[in-house]
Amino acid sequence: MRVLIIEDDADTAAQLGSALEGAGHEAEHAADGERGLERARSGGHDALIVDRMLPKLDGLSLVRTLRAEGRGVPVLFLTALDQVDERVSGLEGGGDDYLVKPFAFSELLARLQALLRRRGAEAAETRLKVADLELDRLKREVRRAGKPVTLQAREFRMLEYLMLHAGEVVTRAMLLQEVWGYHFDPQTNVVDVHVSRLRSRIDGDGQTPLLHTVRGTGYCLREPG
């Protein structure tokens, strides 16, 4: 994956770059808005990481310009301002996701993965399958090894999201955002409890575990082996 980082803080940019490269991606860096826009226009990036506050051209205007030119490259906004209105204006301005500083690299990587997947054909698939776990999005049915599994509406939504991102790390914040629509951090780790319930429904009865906990980050639903 080739990622363009548009960020004026050299330190943050360097850390981001090395983390991305450590995860096997290719990173490019632009230190201000104008140069960032120039590079983004040259194309060839799988995703952009854009700081909201940039010298010369701010992040929001940069992304608006790109969108107006018909460029659909996924954009992840970074910001030091965590305000609901900021988030809304960022997403309305053409951003695909929004991450508040400071963040964990694992969170950033998970979100980048999710963004790339979102661009794919996820919406068209009506039947999802991971190993012997099947989910029918139309009939709203789940089967494990052919046997029906009964899930509550929220559990179904959680499993659906995890299966759409099978093999990728999904963080707690992402689940809270996608399944419940909340942008705040509950004080207790409520998501963990919901995930462990879901796990007992689909991974119970001595079956091969599919839903794994990624320590300190979140969860991953993947094929065994």
Partner: protein, 470 residues
């Protein structure tokens, strides 16, 4: 909030209009009284003049009778009658003066009238005003004229002769009528001008004040850039508008500065914390064993600092927020969603989570903030309730959200204090949390114009968030 029919008060309910109406009514009464007095003075003066004239005439005629007997009197009455008739024939009217002289048997000896008026009894008071049919003395016409009011005096002279002297009141009645019409017209005119002026004055005052009300309404909804229009007339309204505007300017300035400080703190702390966290992460990836463990601890510590910082900043931010992002919320579904988020945690801790939600409760507000507030209340309740206890979330049709638990509760004297920042009852700080949970609920409540009340649930704590249902 029911926005906002208060500003559109009807004209007739405004103070200015009421004042103007009051003054108009007062001046109407005053002028009516003056004109009535004038009318009374003029008409009684007229009556007095007529009576004086008649009295003098009667005196002259009775003296004549005493001097020259009935023949002398008859001659005088006849000559006066002819003279009056001649005067009257010019105008085609009845003569102004009326005379009649009869003998004791009632036969007419002389005068302008054909008969002794039947309406005038023989034994009567001397002065009378009677409606009479008077003959019109015109050549070829021998019929009664119009009925006119006549002021008259009659005496019975020695020898049984009866003498009547009268004056028809045609002219004075006309004058009276004109006076009356003029008086009522003046009163009516005063009333109309007063009412119309009042309405106009009221409308201009209402319009000016409405501009203030409208601007205040917009400011209340968060548009601090609103100003009250100054019309340049240098009147007291402009002075008031200018004062209010400079006050608004000051408030806007203060709010802007608060916002700037918050944003600067956010930016200046988040960026270095971000760098710190990524360095620690990079380091921990390259090491193992005890060192890695220590670095993980440092990262967790950083995350706690960030969480606290986020808590403080969001409380500050909620305080400075505009209501621009408000929408009509389905409070029932907000509560149901949050309850669903916590039911698993409650179950795991063997706490019975009771949920009683009235259907279709609506209120204006911010969905994220309200959800966060309810989430914090439930979080606290579950955190402090021992296993096997009960937590209840209730929503009444009046948009009152209650979270009650069977935990240890908060002593009455501490209930106000826990809403302050960083205050925790758990002085050992053994439970996770930063002491900002209830402060944030309080900030959200204030932002929504709602009240947050902490009460005893006997045992436990009962937190009630009263929203404005809409």
């Amino acid at each position: 909030m029911s926005r906002d029919n208060r500003s559109a008060s009807p004209l007739f309910r405004t103070t200015a209009f009421k004042l103007a109406m009051g003054y108009a009514a007062f001046f109407c009464l005053l002028s009516a009284a003056c004109l009535a007095l004038l009318y009374w003075v003029i008409t009684s003066e007229l009556d007095a003049q007529i009576d004086a004239g008649l009295r003098a005439e009667m005196a002259a005629l009775t003296r004549l009778y005493a001097d020259k007997g009935v023949d002398g009197l008859r001659g005088a009455v006849a000559s006066r009658s002819t003279w009056m008739s001649l005067a009257a024939s010019d105008t085609g009217d009845t003569g102004p003066r009326q005379y009649l002289l009869t003998d004791a048997a009632g036969r007419v000896l002389a005068g302008t009238m054909k008969d002794w008026p039947a309406a005038l009894p023989a034994a009567r008071e001397r002065w009378a005003t009677l409606p009479l049919m008077l003959p019109v003395d015109q050549p070829g016409l021998d019929e009664d004229g119009p009925q006119v009011r006549v002021r008259l005096d009659a005496v019975t002279l020695p020898g049984g002769y009866r003498l009547l002297v009268g004056q028809s009141l045609n002219e004075t009645d006309e004058l009276r009528e004109t006076l009356l019409t003029l008086t009522s017209a003046t009163v009516l005119f005063t009333l109309l001008v007063g009412a119309g002026g009042g309405a106009l004055m009221g409308r201009s005052v209402v319009r000016r004040l409405q501009q203030v009300t409208l601007a205040a309404d917009r400011i209340m909804t968060g548009d601090l850039a609103q100003r009250i229009p100054v019309e340049g007339g240098h009147d007291e309204y402009d002075a008031l508008a200018a004062k209010l505007n400079s006050m608004l300017q000051r408030i806007e300035e203060l709010m802007r500065r608060t916002r700037e400080v918050t944003e600067n703190v956010a930016h200046d702390l988040r960026s270095p914390l971000g760098r710190l966290r990524s360095r620690l992460e990079t380091l921990s990836r390259g090491t193992g064993g005890g060192e890695r463990e220590a670095l993980q601890k440092a990262i967790e510590e950083t995350d706690r600092i960030v969480a606290t910082l986020n808590g403080i900043l969001s409380i500050a931010e909620i305080g400075a927020r505009s209501r621009g992002s408000w929408e009509t919320l389905d409070v029932t579904s907000v509560c149901r969603d949050v309850a669903e988020l916590y039911d698993a945690v409650a179950e795991e801790k063997r706490i019975a989570l009771g949920i009683e939600l009235a259907e279709g409760v609506k209120a204006a507000g911010n969905r994220q903030l309200l959800a966060q507030a309810v989430s914090n209340l439930l979080d606290n309740a579950i955190k402090y309730t021992p296993p096997g206890g009960r937590v209840a979330l209730r929503l009444t049709p009046r948009a009152e959200i209650t979270v009650a638990d069977s935990g240890p509760g908060i002593p009455a004297e501490m209930r106000g204090k826990v809403l302050e920042r960083f205050v925790r009852l758990d002085t050992s700080r053994s439970q996770p949390g930063n002491g900002l949970g209830l402060s944030l609920v309080a900030a959200v409540a204030e932002h929504h114009g709602a009240t947050l009340v902490l009460a005893d649930n006997g045992p436990g704590l009962k937190a009630t968030l009263q929203l404005t249902a809409g």
